[in-house]
């Protein structure tokens, strides 16, 4: 069918017309099929030009328009707006870039630039002729979220979501909330206790009717996609069906457990981990006593389970432990008399304001000794004494030894094992085995599974402040998607021609976003696009053996007609 296409060639005030002969371009394309109207304009983007286009579309009842001007990045939204204002489908608009990719790129050869511009405009016209009206896809969404894990992060996500008007189901595996932090005493960077913090957040949760807390609970089933998930939550003996729009996964970390014999852990009774030590110093007492022995000299050994060598799994730095250990050493010194702290570290990483803790502890007289991975501190028993030996980098590699009453292994964070959840939600993990975001900077709380957001230490080691920030960021992201009650998706998505589909699994494999599902077509099983998951990348299109998949606005017809036009 012949279409009525309006073509506008822009001078861009000389930027184009100084090198590209606009009249020649017009001459060359005026007889193209489908060209109904052909104009040149000084500035296509100017207000007056835009108004003129709206009038043209209306009066000439154009089926499509082509503007040959600058880069589409600059003005596609402008001219799609023009089309929309004139009642034309925005996807019947094609922009041809004859500035950045012709006049400017070839300002050294104006004839060539003109020749190229002609072909580019022709290709644009061909594409417009094959263009189809597309409507943005709207899907209704449920403004409810399941927050998985009621540690500090999960609770903060829940509170933020509830305050923004999202219904929250807070699902906790344990019987009580607060996670690890609920067992901690004084926290660094703020004068508050872990248990107080957990309790105050729990209290806030109780105040909000739109948060439903399930303890001793887990996710047993998940169906659907972003905006509309049907899930089942088993809480105690009950199983509840819930309808939600998104997940915020905030399942936290597990403290690293030293392997047996690592720094004589499990062999010597006075070798303990940092979490054990934190508990020990929080017990009210006037003297620090461990297993009946008064503790005066404490040796902290850093990077246990973190920054491991080739043989270890954990190449990463656990981020919170340097400050946590130093903070504990300050606490223990302020609480008990005559304590000596010896820090055997691999370079202190008290980044940001946490440096002030390091400074405070040094000024307190704590002694820092630095070792490298190829010569770690040796611990041995001499009678009932425990001796730590180290080759200290800070003393030009000199061998030093000290007695210690207690050895604290500063253990890091490892990903929490949760196979059930991983199977249900299919969140990919990174090389460090923590959950992986799509993009660290652009989309730090999103996963490749649409509608499943991650926050807190299940993503990577973080301190409490960082956990809270990411938890609230995930809440903001989830709420911004769900709050309007519907989602609008770009219509440039993949489309399956069911008649041509033979249902192999090529496209299922190619799609990273779980956007291809099975459906019935004339009694056959065929593939279908789940539009709410499709991102419009088109990765699935070239893998189809029967060429049954096309990407809207980039169809075979459109691209091939462009190629044809470029080689006329």
């Amino acid at each position: 069918m012949k279409k009525k296409i309006g073509v506008y060639v822009c001078h861009c005030g000389g930027n184009i017309s100084d090198y590209v002969d606009i009249e020649k371009v017009k001459d060359a394309v005026k007889d193209e099929a489908n060209v109904y109207l052909l104009k040149n304009t000084l500035f296509a983007c100017s207000d007056s030009s835009q108004k003129g286009m709206v009038d043209d579309i209306k009066t000439s009842e154009l089926d499509a328009i082509v503007v040959a001007s600058c880069s589409p990045k600059l003005h596609v939204p402008t001219f799609r707006g023009v089309a929309a204002r004139a009642g034309l489908n925005p996807y019947n608009y094609v922009q041809v870039n004859i500035r950045e990719q012709s006049s400017w790129a070839h300002s050294d050869q104006p004839t060539g630039a003109t020749e190229k511009a002609i072909l580019l405009v022709k290709a644009g016209i061909a594409r417009a002729a094959e263009s189809q009206a597309l409507t943005p896809i709207k899907i209704p969404t449920t403004n409810a979220t399941a927050v998985i894990g009621a540690g500090i992060g999960g609770m903060r996500s829940a509170i933020a979501l509830a305050d923004m008007g999202t219904e929250v189901y807070l699902i906790e595996k344990e019987m009580s909330v607060g996670g690890h932090v609920a067992n901690w005493g004084n926290l660094f960077t703020a004068n508050i206790n872990g248990n107080e913090l957990a309790a105050s957040l729990h209290n806030e949760i109780k105040k909000r009717p739109n948060i439903k807390l399930f303890t001793n609970a887990e996710l047993t089933e998940k169906k659907g996609s972003i905006g509309n998930f049907d899930i089942k939550v088993k809480s105690g003996n009950e199983t509840l069906p819930l309808h939600i729009g998104a997940f915020v996964v905030n399942t936290g970390f597990a403290p690293y457990e030293p392997v047996s014999g690592e720094y004589h852990f499990g062999e010597y009774d006075n070798v303990i981990t940092l979490p054990e030590f934190k508990k020990l110093i929080d017990t009210p007492a006037s003297e620090l006593v461990y297993k009946g022995k008064t503790i005066k000299k404490i040796a902290y050994i850093y990077c246990v389970g973190s920054r491991q060598d080739e043989e270890g799994d954990n190449k990463y730095c656990s981020r919170y432990c340097c400050t946590a250990a130093i903070h504990s050493s300050i606490q223990v010194k302020s609480k008990f008399k005559n304590i000596t702290n010896l820090h055997f570290n691999r370079g202190i990483r008290t980044y940001g304001k946490q440096e002030l803790h390091y400074e405070e502890s040094s000024k307190n007289g704590d002694i820092y000794l630095q070792f490298s991975l190829d010569s770690i501190p040796q611990i041995e028993k001499k009678g009932n004494k425990t001796i730590v030996k180290v080759k200290d980098i800070l003393t030009a590699g000199k061998e030093l030894e000290t007695e210690a009453d207690l050895i604290v292994l500063v253990t890091g964070m490892v990903p929490r094992k949760n196979e059930n959840l991983t199977n249900q939600l299919k969140i990919p993990v990174g090389r460090d085995n923590f959950f992986n975001e799509i993009h660290m900077k652009l989309r730090p709380v999103e996963t490749v599974i649409d509608g499943v957001f991650i926050a807190g230490t299940c993503q990577s080691p973080k301190n409490i402040l960082e956990t809270l920030n990411s938890s609230m960021a995930a809440a903001a992201k989830a709420n911004s998607i769900l709050t309007k009650g519907e989602m609008s998706l770009e219509p440039t998505l993949a489309m399956v021609n069911p008649a041509a589909c033979n249902l192999c699994d090529n496209c299922f494999e190619a799609c990273q976003f779980d956007a291809i599902v099975q459906t019935e077509y004339e009694g056959r099983k065929v593939a279908k696009i789940n539009v709410s998951n499709c991102k419009g990348c088109g990765m699935c299109t070239p893998v189809c053996p029967t060429d049954a998949i096309d990407l809207a606005d980039f169809t075979n017809a459109q691209i091939e007609s462009m190629i044809d036009a470029l080689t006329e």
Binding site: E359, N364, T395, E401, T402
Partner: protein, 349 residues
């Protein structure tokens, strides 16, 4: 293998060290020090040895004496750990370590004890004067001989054994083999440094301070010579009299500047004065000044009527000779020179 001794810090703090624990071992102090070299890098090494309490290595080290406290390390320390003051404190501590009598340490650590020592000495001089019925001539005569005897005995009984102890810690105990002839060869180093302190010239922007020190040392030593051997107070030789005047002016003139900068705390070196520092400069000032006035009174012929003046001078002199010279900061002058000497020995080992 050395044992970490956190207790050492507590002892060191009694000698004036503070905040050096704040050090995070960046090495700025060592690299900024213009006297620090690849073979003798300090002060961070000393800060580190102090932190881990490695007494033996500190005792064996000459580095505290190699520092002339320009203060650059302290003013550029990112953690404000005052490495310069730590070096100063180590010098005090080493002085007490070298001192076989143990008095040095007691005086450094305790201000009341120091004051008591000064009072006792004063009382002894006054007691002696009472016994002599304030006979000025007699007192001056004894005073003159006291000077000679004090110099001799302080040196042989206290300082010489202490220098031998210093040698033991630095060279003997660590079993450094030094050929015997080196001991003679290096003597030049000893005297050059003793009289010129030329090493202090290596400190950046230190020419004036070095010059002050230089003329002070010359002034002090020649004044000593003039009073003890040329018997300034009794001399009628015009040359000797004028020489004495000039020397004493130099001594109190330069020390007035030192005292005032300690009061103003204008330089890094004068920011953290300990009692021992005050005693040293004030007594030096008083020595020069009282000697000057005594001779002036003689020349004006009014000393007879004002014999208290000589008494005052003698008290200062006695305190200087029996407290400050053997146990106080005066020894730094000696140990510094011997440190340069022993450093040379170590190189030749």
């Amino acid at each position: 293998m050395a044992t970490i001794n956190p207790e050492f810090g507590k002892e060191l703090k009694k000698y004036g060290a503070f905040d050096y624990n704040a050090c995070y071992n960046c090495g700025t102090c060592t690299a900024i020090c213009s006297l620090s070299t690849e073979t003798d890098s300090f002060p961070r090494e000393m800060v580190r040895l102090s932190t881990i309490g490695n007494e033996d290595d500190i005792k064996a080290s000459l580095k505290p004496w190699l520092c002339y406290y320009c203060g650059e390390c302290s003013s550029n320390c990112p953690r404000q750990a005052s490495p310069g003051e730590l070096m100063m404190s180590l010098r005090r501590w080493l002085t007490s370590v070298y001192d076989w009598t143990g008095l040095s340490g007691l005086l450094y650590k305790s201000l009341p004890l120091s004051i008591l020592a000064f009072l006792l000495t004063a009382a002894a001089v006054i007691g002696f004067s009472i016994r002599e019925n304030f006979d000025l001539e007699r007192i001056m005569h004894v005073g003159h001989y006291f000077e000679m005897i004090a110099i001799g005995s302080v040196f042989t009984v206290i300082l010489l054994p202490n220098i031998i102890r210093m040698w033991w810690f630095v060279i003997g105990k660590p079993k450094i083999k030094v050929p015997a002839k080196s001991y003679f060869k290096a003597l030049g180093e000893l005297f050059v440094h003793m009289f010129t302190q030329k090493r202090a010239l290596g400190c950046d922007n230190n020419q004036f301070r070095w010059f002050e020190h230089f003329i002070l040392v010359i002034g002090y030593l020649t004044l000593l010579f003039t009073t003890v051997f040329l018997d300034w107070f009794s001399s009628s030789n015009l040359f000797i009299i004028i020489l004495g005047y000039i020397e004493s002016i130099i001594v109190f003139g330069v020390t007035i500047d030192f005292v005032s900068s300690r009061i103003k705390k204008s330089k890094e070196v004068s920011k953290h004065s300990q009692p021992s520092d005050w005693f040293f400069v004030i007594w030096l000032l008083l020595m020069g000044l009282t000697a000057f006035i005594v001779r002036l009174f003689i020349d004006l012929n009014i000393l007879e009527q004002n014999s208290w003046m000589y008494l005052f001078h003698l008290i200062i002199l006695a305190q200087w000779a029996v407290i400050i010279v053997p146990f106080g900061k005066w020894t730094h002058f000696l140990y510094r020179s011997f440190a340069m000497y022993m450093a040379k020995l170590k190189i030749q080992s």
